[in-house]
């Protein structure tokens, strides 16, 4: 959790998206949202210990004495976690801070054996950056990143195995996290949804976090406030913790905004508090009032000296960067002639983009994209199949498009051929040959056939 410092909120300029306004009989309101996202770092071992990060192992197996908070145990920083954090920072077009330091955030909870979390407070490893989001009306918007810091995850509490006890599994305790904090730049639930999808896409391209919200490897806290539309007021915000899907984040924003508006319009105030989103009702309920807010008493971590990054280290990370979805999308539009929408969908995940590029190699890229967006995705959906396991290979999809381009088969026949391809995995030339589906375009051939029929 990070307190946003800015006192005054500017009205965002260049705001194109169809404006999200909540209208009541009494007035018009707009919503202001900032997100904090915890992303588990992909690494073999934990951020401060040599225990494994494997998900789904038996309880308390992947725990070292460091993770269990045994007296005298010292943390040692995992180089790869630092590498992953810098890589993510570059992916967020953010400033990499060559000097950062670790702090202790004190709180008392059963799944935190040390009673403090090692995190970064005053000097995070990554500073301001931005993420471009794509909105449904085709427009784009930049969401500013305030900062990103690295820290350790807590253990997992299991509350439903016993009526009187909670069970603690420390396998997750000490796994590296990146906490990404946005500026309060969102003005609609859709924008927050688009951001989470784009962030997940970037993290997956970078292979720094697997981005699975349902498994908890990406978790989102949502800060919401409202104000009369068109003003630059800054009103009290409420925070919703650990909302665990894109859909729920959007729902939580909408319902929390409505709740706050109702408060104001009934002459009441909104109190700063932590609220919990209940997926079964879609509503939020109070979890912790301000007067019971945690007193974290941050102080510099005495067991770890500051982290100083060399230019060589940052350069090494830079060498490892891949083409990210925005750049890929731009290239697909500009050099392969795809529509912005098709390019966005195809670039959302790297496997799909790779598949497309392979299929489009040497063929009509736009047609390949059309096939992917239509019959191909529909087929994967129907078969509940990942693109990696697609029965139709990229080469074969490219070959099918080639057969259409060269008028060997018609578009209509191609659909039948595709159907067979998705069942058998065979290549389209073979299917066309064996089933005699070749289209006859030579008019003298056609005349011969007509003659035969008439005679």
């Amino acid at each position: 959790m990070w307190r946003q410092k800015s006192k005054k909120m500017p009205v965002l300029k260049g705001y194109k998206m169809s404006e999200y306004v909540i209208e009541t009989p009494k007035g018009k309101w707009e919503v202001i949202v900032g997100l904090e996202i915890h992303c588990q770092i992909i690494s073999q071992s934990k951020i401060f210990s040599g225990a494994s990060t494997e998900f789904g192992d038996d309880p308390n197996v992947n725990v070292s004495f460091v993770d269990a908070g045994m007296p005298g145990m010292l943390p040692t920083l995992n180089e790869h976690c630092v590498f992953q954090a810098v890589k993510t920072g570059l992916g967020l077009q953010a400033k990499i801070n060559k000097y950062s330091e670790f702090s202790r955030k004190n709180y008392f909870y059963a799944d935190m054996p040390t009673d403090y979390q090692i995190t970064q407070f005053r000097y995070p490893i990554v500073g301001e950056g931005k993420v471009k989001i794509d909105l449904s009306d085709g427009s784009e918007k930049d969401i500013r990143i305030e900062r990103m810091h690295i820290e350790q995850d807590a253990g997992k509490s299991i509350h439903d195995l016993s009526p009187t006890k909670s069970y603690i599994d420390l396998n997750r305790a000490g796994i590296g996290l990146m906490e990404i904090v946005t500026k309060p730049d969102f003005r609609a639930p859709e924008e927050a949804g688009a951001f989470l999808r784009k962030l997940r896409s970037i993290l997956r391209y970078l292979k720094t976090c697997d981005g699975n919200m349902d498994e908890g490897s990406m978790r989102c806290d949502v800060n919401v406030s409202v104000r009369p539309f068109g003003t630059d007021e800054l009103r009290t915000r409420c925070e919703m913790k650990n909302v665990n899907s894109v859909k729920f984040v959007m729902q939580a924003i909408e319902n929390e905004a409505k709740r706050q508006i109702e408060q104001y319009e009934n002459g009441l105030t909104v109190e700063q508090e932590t609220r919990q989103f209940d997926p079964s009702t879609g509503q939020t309920k109070v979890m912790r009032k301000k007067e019971f807010a945690h007193d974290y008493r941050y102080f510099p971590e005495p067991d770890l000296p500051p982290l100083i990054l060399s230019d060589e280290f940052i350069e090494k990370v830079r060498q490892d960067m891949v083409e990210l979805p925005d750049a890929k999308k731009k290239r697909f539009i500009e050099t392969l002639g795809l529509t912005a929408y098709d390019a966005m969908v195809i670039c959302e995940n790297q496997e799909t983009a790779d598949f497309f590029e392979k299929a489009a190699q040497g063929h009509d890229a736009k047609k390949v994209a059309n096939w992917m967006m239509g019959d191909f995705f529909a087929m994967l959906n129907k078969k509940k199949c990942d693109i990696q396991n697609s029965p139709v290979s990229a080469e074969n999809l490219g070959a099918l498009v080639e057969l259409i381009s060269k008028d060997v088969i018609s578009g209509k026949i191609a659909k039948d051929v595709f159907e067979i391809m998705s069942e058998t995995g065979e290549n389209p030339e073979k299917i066309v040959e064996e089933k005699g589906l070749k289209q006859v375009t030579d008019t003298s051939e056609i005349e011969k056939i007509i003659d035969q029929v008439i005679a």
């Binding site: 073999q44 225990a51 308390n60 004495f65 040692t76 976690c81 909670s166 420390l170 100083i308």
Partner: protein
Amino acid sequence: MSIDQETVKRIAFLSRLSVDEDKIEATQDEFNKIMSWIENLNEIDTDHVEPLISVNDIQIKLRKDNVTDGNYREKILQNAPAAEYDYFAVPKVME
């Protein structure tokens, strides 16, 4: 700066220490003595001085990302006041 009794109770709570009602005043006295001693430091102007993180000017040691530890659940759970089904068992906490 003087510390009131509410603050004493708050600090005790944050530290998970129980302080008997009849000890609060004595503790408050002790805190205030410590505070007034520390306040001597206010004589120094620290407006543009960064907090000192460490007196040692050493670079952090980074570890290679290898799994080298763990896999000793029995030892981990050995000190637990209660362990069930290979978990730490604690009084029900819900938040």
